[in-house]
């Protein structure tokens, strides 16, 4: 797992949800972080745009999935494309 992917996803969530990055843990769900559903779909969109991947609806289950789950899904899509994680 690339920590860069994690850092970038944390940064996107923090930016959209107006949270301190330090408050985000891999085990957090977006729901735990107080992210409303409309913000959550914007977060998913920003992640897809950032990494140029498309997440399936099951990978973007915002109520139950953790941030770790999102990171894993993005990494899996990046691996499938053969793309190294973006530097930033």
């Amino acid at each position: 797992m690339s920590s860069s992917v994690q850092q970038q996803i944390f940064a996107i969530i923090a930016d959209q949800a107006k949270l301190d990055v330090a408050s985000i843990q891999p085990a957090s769900t977006l729901k735990d972080l107080g992210v409303a559903s409309l913000d959550a779909i914007e977060i998913i969109f920003d992640i897809e745009e950032k990494f140029d991947v498309t997440l399936s609806d099951s990978d973007a289950d915002l109520k139950s999935d953790t941030v770790h789950g999102l990171i894993t899904a993005v990494q899996r899509e990046l691996d499938a494309k053969g793309t190294p994680a973006l530097a930033g």
Partner: protein, 404 residues
């Protein structure tokens, strides 16, 4: 049946923000038509437009809210805030929000969002569009956002009839109050239509002027596309009287008709029928009317057709009417036009000043009414009509009287 009055108005237009900003310019004969400001301007045949200058969304909406709002919703919200503030209504008290309707007209809806997402799909070949595309684009978005911002839980919806949308929205609001479905209604129209697609569509229809908008002039060359919004607080006269509200004008009646003819060509029969119904609904005789704010787009077809219709309705009194097209100054903001024009009618009724038809050059025998050329006129205005005739042959006229 309840009488309906206007107790607040707000506007965003090519003249800037504010109903009084718009009215001051109109009564001075000062227009907002300027060179088109658009990234593709150099490639377009559209040279001029009446665009809202220096509109900064961040000055009106915080970071969380802006992504939800297409420009047409932003204009609507800013205009509604002004109208509601002027009305002095407190929707939180006595559950007034539950008895307040929101009825907003627009011709093209969230056009800029739609255009931007199309660019992503077709030009950038992006596999995805912005996730808020649907709530931003939907034509009822302004009605929804106004209801949310002010806690208004009465009947709320959008009205679409192209360039007559505003007047149809006002008409619907009047009926809603008259029949007791609401005591108050926020109504008006909004438009933000300067997408590349819409500009190209205007070019293709060959209805856009390349010099300026000169309604009723012999050498008129078409309409000038505009954007903006105007919103009004309508309430039952009884409600306004009981709370001691300052009444701007009375909406005495509304008329609506459909040409059931051509999809774009105007009809004098349909337009005349619309004005007659407004007079009848208002209980006005033609002789009671001093001013008609014309649809007056500046196209060859409309202005001559509307002239014939006004003559058919008013007979000899047509020559005693002041008839002006303020589109010569605020441009043709499609579904917001009727609302912007209502600001001019309210000004005329309150101040006894009729805004002129600007940019007027030579008389056209086919448009032989007193069109108040170029300079505003001080005159008593007891009652007025405001016409809007849409593509699709859908007509609506609002009849207003001075505040009771």
């Amino acid at each position: 049946m309840q009488r309906v009055v206007i107790s607040g108005h707000g506007a965003v237009s090519a003249l800037g923000i504010g109903a009084n900003t718009l009215w001051s310019a109109l009564r001075e004969g000062r227009g907002g038509i300027r060179p088109l400001d658009h990234p593709e301007a150099a490639n377009l045949r559209v040279l001029i437009a009446a665009q809202v200058p220096h509109f900064d969304p961040a000055a009106h909406f915080d970071d969380k809210r802006r992504p939800l709002l297409d420009r047409f919703s932003q204009f609507a919200l800013v205009a509604a805030r002004e109208a509601i503030a002027e009305s002095g209504l407190d929707f939180a008290s006595n559950d007034l929000g539950a008895r307040t309707a929101v009825i907003i007209g627009s011709a093209v809806g969230g056009e800029l969002t739609r255009d931007e997402q199309s660019r992503r799909l077709y030009a950038d070949k992006s596999p995805r569009v912005h996730p808020l595309s649907i709530p931003r684009t939907m034509i009822n978005a302004p009605a929804s956002h106004i209801s949310m911002e002010h806690g208004l839980t009465g009947p709320s919806f959008a009205v679409a009839s192209a360039c007559a949308s505003s007047n149809h929205a006002i008409a619907q609001a009047v009926q809603t109050i008259r029949c007791g479905l609401a005591d108050v209604a926020i109504a008006g129209g909004t438009e933000a239509c300067f997408s590349l697609a819409n500009l190209r569509a205007g070019e293709a229809m060959r209805v856009l002027a390349d010099d300026t908008c000169r309604p009723f002039s012999h050498h008129r060359r078409g309409l000038v596309l505009a954007e903006g919004a105007a919103m009004f607080v309508l309430e039952s006269f009884e409600h306004a009287r009981q709370r001691g509200a300052t009444i701007l004008a009375e909406v005495a009646g509304v008329g609506m008709s459909s040409d059931a003819g051509d999809i774009v060509a105007p009809s004098d029969v349909g337009a005349a029928s619309c004005m007659r119904r407004a007079l009848l609904d208002a209980g006005l005789n033609g002789e009671d009317v001093d001013y008609v704010n014309a649809h007056g787009t500046g196209t060859t077809a409309n202005d001559a057709t509307e002239t014939r219709a006004i003559r058919a309705v008013f007979g000899a009194h047509a020559d005693r009417l002041a008839v002006s097209s303020t589109k010569s100054m605020h441009g043709h903001a499609l579904g917001a036009s009727g609302a912007l024009e209502l600001v001019a009618v309210i000004g005329a009724l309150r101040e006894g000043v009729v805004a002129p038809t600007a940019n007027y050059t030579e008389a056209d025998p086919a448009c032989d009414l007193d069109v108040v050329p170029n300079t505003a006129r001080s005159m008593p205005v007891r009652a007025a009509l405001s016409n809007s005739f849409a593509f699709g042959g859908l007509n609506s006229t609002v009849a207003l009287r001075r505040a009771p």
